[in-house]
């Protein structure tokens, strides 16, 4: 029944985004940009939530996967000489995105392997390291433009493709969570040693979480690249990973709805607060500290209740 519901949701999202995409030209370009970023951030945050929230493998390298997807997809569209506005090129975009996603997923596989032996803090630092290594390697590849960046990417990303992928990522992840895999992920997160003792193949679940999460981060990267039309390695630094982590933590690790809400709010908030842009990261960091101390399950996580949100909380595990 649950699967049935998510399927309906997916179809509704696809149809709605198709319908809206007819009006996208009449939309205020500034709002349009913000909406596209919201979509991309939802994909990034829900995919990271699979790794961090559900499987409990704290990763700080999501921007690295995003970078691989962005460069992978950009190389593909360059190879076929895709141009903005050409219907064939727009139809080719998902192919390029999937190639980018597969490149990122392969990296996810490689990052997933050390995660088989590392836990908690060490895993976090190692994934951060992988993210930085990916960035430095891209910086040194002349073919990809090095530190100067990759220019002239056709602007193929439109409303439809962004929200179609938002629908797909939410669909795939919710179904994964409601399947046996979901139970496996949760057992990993809650107590890895106990899970192992119960005969759960922890290796398999960790790798699946990393590969799936990385794949969708790659898709998001591809969409981003074909929206801004210029990418450079500095855009995918450790700060970008932190931004995605903040969305997951504010939304509540392991709560898909919460993370989607947080992605929307944290994309709009900096735009609404343009006047005090220099405070953005200060606010983000304070948000992290305050949430960890007072409400570690996130604003919209377990037990979310508008009335209770401002009341004094009792105790959490």
């Amino acid at each position: 029944m649950k699967v049935h519901r998510t399927k309906t949701l997916l179809v509704v999202t696809l149809l709605a985004s198709l319908a809206v995409s007819f009006f996208e030209k009449s939309l205020n370009p500034y709002y349009f940009t913000v909406i596209i970023y919201i979509g991309i951030n939802i994909i990034l945050a829900t995919s990271l939530n699979l790794i961090n929230g559900f499987a409990g493998q704290f990763s700080l390298g999501h921007a690295g996967f995003m970078a691989l997807g962005a460069y992978g997809a950009a190389v593909m569209t360059r190879a076929v000489d895709a141009t903005a506005g050409d219907p064939m090129s727009i139809a080719f975009l998902p192919v390029a995105l999937i190639v980018g996603g597969v490149v990122a997923a392969l990296a996810g596989l490689i990052v997933g392997i050390p995660s088989l032996r590392l836990r908690g803090d060490y895993l976090a630092i190692t994934t951060l390291g992988f993210g930085e290594i990916i960035r430095v390697v891209i910086q040194n590849i002349e073919f990809l433009g090095g530190a100067r960046g990759f220019t002239g990417i056709p602007k193929l990303t439109d409303f439809f493709w962004v929200f179609a992928f938002v629908g797909i990522v939410v669909f795939v992840i919710s179904n994964l969570i409601n399947s046996t895999y979901g139970k496996g992920f949760l057992s990993l997160r809650d107590d890895e040693i106990a899970a192992q003792a119960m005969g759960i193949d922890t290796t398999k679940y960790k790798v699946v979480a990393f590969v799936t999460g990385a794949f969708f981060a790659g898709i998001a990267g591809g969409l981003y690249a074909h929206f801004v039309s210029y990418i450079n390695p500095a855009q995918f630094s450790f700060i970008k990973s932190i931004e995605i982590v903040v969305m997951v933590i504010v939304g509540g690790m392991g709560s898909t709805v919460g993370v989607i809400l947080a992605a929307i709010i944290l994309t709009i908030l900096p735009e609404a607060l343009r006047g005090i842009a220099e405070y953005r990261m200060v606010i983000y960091s304070l948000l992290l500290i305050v949430i960890m101390i007072s409400r570690p399950q996130g604003l919209f996580g377990k037990g979310f209740n508008l009335g209770k949100l401002f009341a004094f909380k009792k105790s959490q595990a």
Binding site: F58, L60, R117, G129, N140, A197, S285, I289, M292, P296
Partner: protein, 301 residues
């Protein structure tokens, strides 16, 4: 040969700064079993205290750098100790019984908070660090030039490491620290005040980081609010390489990372400088997670 010597001196001076920062990571890990992500930013604050205080201190002692250097360093160490203890009391202490991941995320939050409020207060542009070490050329032949700065950096770092070793091995407080890191519960049952020991650990770690900040500023005289990120991460890698929780290990790890990094910059390519340390981290975590001098710790269910 001369080029090698030059790189060796550069590597040792950079490495001894990494070692000073790494000691803070390793001591906090030893006592509290978590990675104090904000430590690299305490190092940055140390450098900025030096930047703001030096113009007042230097004329006060009649322009003598020999006196001004240690005074500036001492002020930075005191300010950073207060900062370190405050961070621990406000952000980490309420989380002590919680899962480690919660503390890690908070530490990342504190780190970002220091970096970006630093950008607000100090301004994001790089600032020239005042000269605190009289620059004279010690050796000059062919293309080898050794100035006094790296030698004094290495000397100061070594001196501080010996002081630390004395404090940890010979004083009551040091004994208490070692007891807490060996077995926290048993130590507190023996009447050791955990809160005092933890605060003391932060004082030690933060003052070493502050001294590191002053030395780093003297070595590479351009400082900015984000300067703590990479030295912080590399010092952490040094601590892991040497065996986290192990004090001589952190010093050894720092020197090794500093040397490897300078050699890679000098002989291969400067752009790979940041990637190489992370590569070392991944290799060490895969093949010998306990580090060079560390001991294996069994995880009990």
């Amino acid at each position: 040969m001369n080029e090698f010597l030059q790189q060796l001196i550069n590597g040792l001076s950079l490495g001894s700064i990494y070692a000073l920062i790494a000691l803070g990571y390793t001591m906090v890990y030893g006592v509290l079993r978590f990675i104090n992500f904000a430590h690299g930013d305490v190092f940055m604050i140390g450098a900025f205290v030096g930047y703001y205080v030096a113009p007042y201190v230097i004329p006060m002692v009649g322009g003598s750098l020999f006196l001004a250097g240690p005074i500036v360093a001492l002020i930075a160490m005191i300010v950073c100790s207060i900062l370190g203890v405050t961070i621990e009391k406000l952000a980490y202490k309420p989380l002590r019984p919680r899962p480690k991941l919660t503390v890690l995320i908070t530490a990342i939050g504190v780190s970002l908070f220091l970096e970006f409020s630093g950008q607000l207060f100090f301004g994001p542009d790089p600032k020239p660090f005042p000269t605190l070490i009289a620059q004279t050329t010690v050796v000059e032949r062919d293309n080898l030039v050794i100035t006094s700065t790296p030698l004094i950096v290495i000397g100061t770092a070594l001196l501080l490491m010996f002081v630390l070793r004395f404090v940890v091995m010979r004083t009551r407080m040091g004994t208490a620290m070692r007891a807490v890191s060996y077995n926290q519960q048993a130590a507190s049952l023996m009447g050791i005040n955990l809160n005092t020991v933890i605060s003391f650990t932060f004082v030690l770690g933060s003052s070493l980081a502050a001294a590191g900040g002053i030395l780093y500023g003297s070595l590479y005289p351009s400082i900015n609010p984000l300067m703590g990120i990479f030295p912080g991460l590399k010092a952490f890698i040094s601590a892991v390489l040497g065996g986290i929780g192990n004090i001589p290990g952190a010093a050894l790890g720092g020197i090794i990372i500093g040397l490897v990094e300078t050699m890679v910059t000098g002989y291969l390519s400067p752009t790979y400088r940041d990637a190489i340390s992370f590569g070392i981290l991944i290799l060490i975590l895969l093949f010998k997670p306990s580090g060079i001098l560390g001991t294996n710790e069994m995880e009990k269910v």
